[in-house]
């Protein structure tokens, strides 16, 4: 197993290089970072000042040299400084990562708690109004844009009912109760968005499993239906669902961009959005590095989980 993990980790290196190189080139192609610094301001600039800024930031070097300089820093654990805030990128990411992790984990849990039961019920009551209702419910979570859903939640629970804060963030480590109050609306907004594919995947996997011979045998043995569904159905249907869950971990990183913006949560998503708009290349690169690592890790964990759920799958051979 350890050999497998090492191989997977090594496989991730070319992926990280390709992704960061592509993002680096695209960020440069879509505008001049110095224009983002001086153009975003209200004060008048001049070519001399712009040239000095460009030189000091190393932006007058050829692009491959700039990328290699960045890479050299990364190898030494230095992600550079933001060209907008002058703060170390590593510190900035370290500040934001826990916030996004809290949001993403809560959203992921909410997505699972809604989708799996819904998918199972839909499969067990296949082609009944319960099945159709569950499908409509799950798909509406995907169909409604998360920014709109977020704003509606804020209006209903924050303004009209006044039971939850409209926006902001408190860390679980600072005040768990307050943290829950602040997290509930954004986590539901983000989590509900995950339910469509997960519910459909769970349902179709369950339908397939429930039609297998071993399930028929279990029923013939006289096992109660709950036991048939949970012990023989759910466990065997989980493999394809697990794949979707792994993929969704990556999608959650993207989803946080919108939800963090709407709910004013100072996480990685908002950081990335701001950095992209401001052409803050070191921050964009740092974010891409962390996000790619997160997706790679989520997929690795998913692959390892296959082995746990199905002992026939063995890694490292």
């Amino acid at each position: 197993m350890s050999g497998y993990l090492v191989r997977r980790a090594l496989n991730a290196i070319p992926l990280l290089l390709i992704v960061t190189m592509a993002v680096f080139a695209l960020t440069h192609l879509s505008g001049d970072p110095v224009a983002a610094i001086v153009g975003g301001g209200e004060v008048a600039s001049n070519p001399e000042l712009e040239a000095r800024i460009r030189h000091d930031l190393g932006l007058d070097d050829p692009l491959p040299v700039q990328y290699l300089n960045w890479l050299k820093g990364v190898v030494q654990g230095d992600l550079g400084r933001s060209i907008q805030t002058h703060r170390p990128v590593r510190e900035t990411l370290a500040d934001r990562l826990p916030t996004t992790l809290q949001l993403a984990l809560c959203a992921w849990a909410i997505g699972i708690l809604i989708s799996l039961p819904l998918g199972i019920i839909a499969a067990v009551r296949q082609n009944t109004w319960v099945d159709h209702g569950a499908t409509v419910l799950a798909l509406s979570g995907v169909a409604v844009p998360s920014f709109w859903m977020g704003l509606m939640f804020i209006l209903v629970f924050g303004v009209w009912m006044g039971v939850l804060p409209p926006s902001g963030f408190v860390s679980v480590t600072d005040n768990p109760l307050k943290a829950a109050q602040y997290l509930v609306l954004p986590a539901i907004t983000l989590g509900v968005h995950q339910t469509g594919s997960l519910t459909r995947q769970m349902r179709s996997a369950m339908v397939e499993v429930l039609n297998q011979d071993y399930v028929r045998t279990a029923r013939a043995k006289g096992l109660v239906e709950r036991s048939v569904v949970i012990r023989h159905g759910v466990r065997n249907a989980m493999l394809p669902v697990l794949t979707v869950l792994g993929l969704q971990a990556g999608a959650l990183v993207g989803g946080t961009v919108v939800v963090e913006q709407v709910f004013a949560i100072p996480g990685m998503g908002r950081l990335a959005l701001t950095a992209v708009l401001q052409h803050d290349i070191p921050v964009v690169q740092g974010f891409v590095l962390v996000a790619t690592l997160a997706v790679v890790t989520a997929n690795l964990v998913t692959d390892v989980m296959y082995g746990v759920l199905d002992p026939r799958i063995q890694h490292g051979r």
Partner: protein
Amino acid sequence: MPATRISRRRALQGFGGGAAAFGASVLFGACGGGDDDSGSSSEGTPAHADTRATAIPSATAKTGGTLRVALSGDPTGLDPSTSRGGNDHNWLYSIFDNLVNNDPTFQVSKGIAEKWEVVDDLTVTFTVPASGITYHDGTAYSAQDIKATIDRHLDPATKSFAAGSLGSVDKVIVSDSTHVTFKLKTITASLFAILGDRAGMILSPTAVQKLGEDFTNKPVGSGPMKLDNWAVGASQKMSKFAQYRKQGYPYLDGIDVQIVPNSSVQFANLRSGNTDLIQLGQKDVDAAKKDSSVQFVQWPSTGYTQVNLNISQKPLNDIRIRQAMTYALNRQAILDGIYFGVGTLANGPITQALWAYNSNLKPIQEDLKKAKELVTAAGYPNGITFDFLITAGEENTPLSEMLKAQWARVGLNVNIVPVTATQATTDYRDQKYPFFLTGFSGRADPDLTIFDNFHSTGAFNRASFNKSYTKEESQVTLDQKIEKARQVYDQAQRKALYDEIQKQIVENAHGIFFTHQSNLVGLSKRVRNFTNYGDGKLRLHEAWLDG
């Protein structure tokens, strides 16, 4: 010219509060009292201001409490030299003391300097305290710090964005412990407005030296509030500076700024009682007026909406095309359809917020017949098609569509090119497009708006980046007028010159203006003594909380 000298001395010698100004009493009927630098006259209240005074249970200012503010984004930095964003002042004015201030009508008023005098055309002297001012790091102020601050801006190594506005300053001399003299290379009528902005914010030299590049994240001034914490993208916490030079101020114990990017969410926070102060969007004005749980104040802004023209490029190098573009517009439809009727129709680049506003100049009326004639006369009887650069966004996208439709009526067909802000800035600078949809926030002095935007060498005039630009006749005469106006200290004389300049800019379509904006602020019921400035930048040292 002795007569002129007497006149400008009268105009510019300040004794604190002497300049025409209005205070918070205009807005709320309450006044902080005490050593009031900002004055309290209500003279000059623009006609369309909605003061909506709120009943005050107590006229006496109360101390204590933390004001919760929601703003849409972080400052670009908190070093007055290297920061560059228009919103930065929402923090900077609390953290730093200025040498002089701009009062709400943009007249010079007391800051650290108690008096000032234009000694001759190229010499301005400020009378400052010898001591008695402490910085947030506990170090003591001296008059030398004023020179150090200006010298730092002027040092190219600082990469100061304020250096451009101080370009006419030759040197600063500390004559003695209470007098600081600015020696100028040219007459600089806007000097006081410049020093009331970021260039005149006095820094702790000890902290500057100690913190280096990190000063922008840990600013140290002598203002009423000190920065305790800045969580980028999340919040800034400021607390009362007990040793602030003005006794009794500030009233607030602290200011907590939360960064809330979405204006609808900001408004939701105000309505639900989770914040005390927001800068409202036009779309929320009606709801704010109807909501009895919030206060709403509106004041003319220095800002205007427009298209920024590069008149060195085809087809805008033809005055007739530009004039056709301005006559083809129905500004009332733009004001109502895009800006929810909030603001006024623009008659030029100077708004009611400034003393240089030309009230005799009327907004250009829609005249499709004249516009069509101009297009034909320019040699395009079948119309012309050209590109129109915009930054895609909630407001710009529908506005650009409306402009496109209005111009198409007279044969001016534009292809809208929507890109990101940075891409637009890059492309426009690089002469790829003849005009760009971007507003301008306006400045505290007309020269700072007019020169940079409409002089052929102005920093915001992208024609100045065009190496092959041959100036048209109107530009030559406009340049001469703009140069003259910036070299006259007497405000009455300047006003006459700017009246003429605005007329020429509008009639010869050096700019195409749509509306003059309003600064819209929503407050919780407990906020008192807040003054809404035309530049939209928050000054909170006189605000207090009732409950």
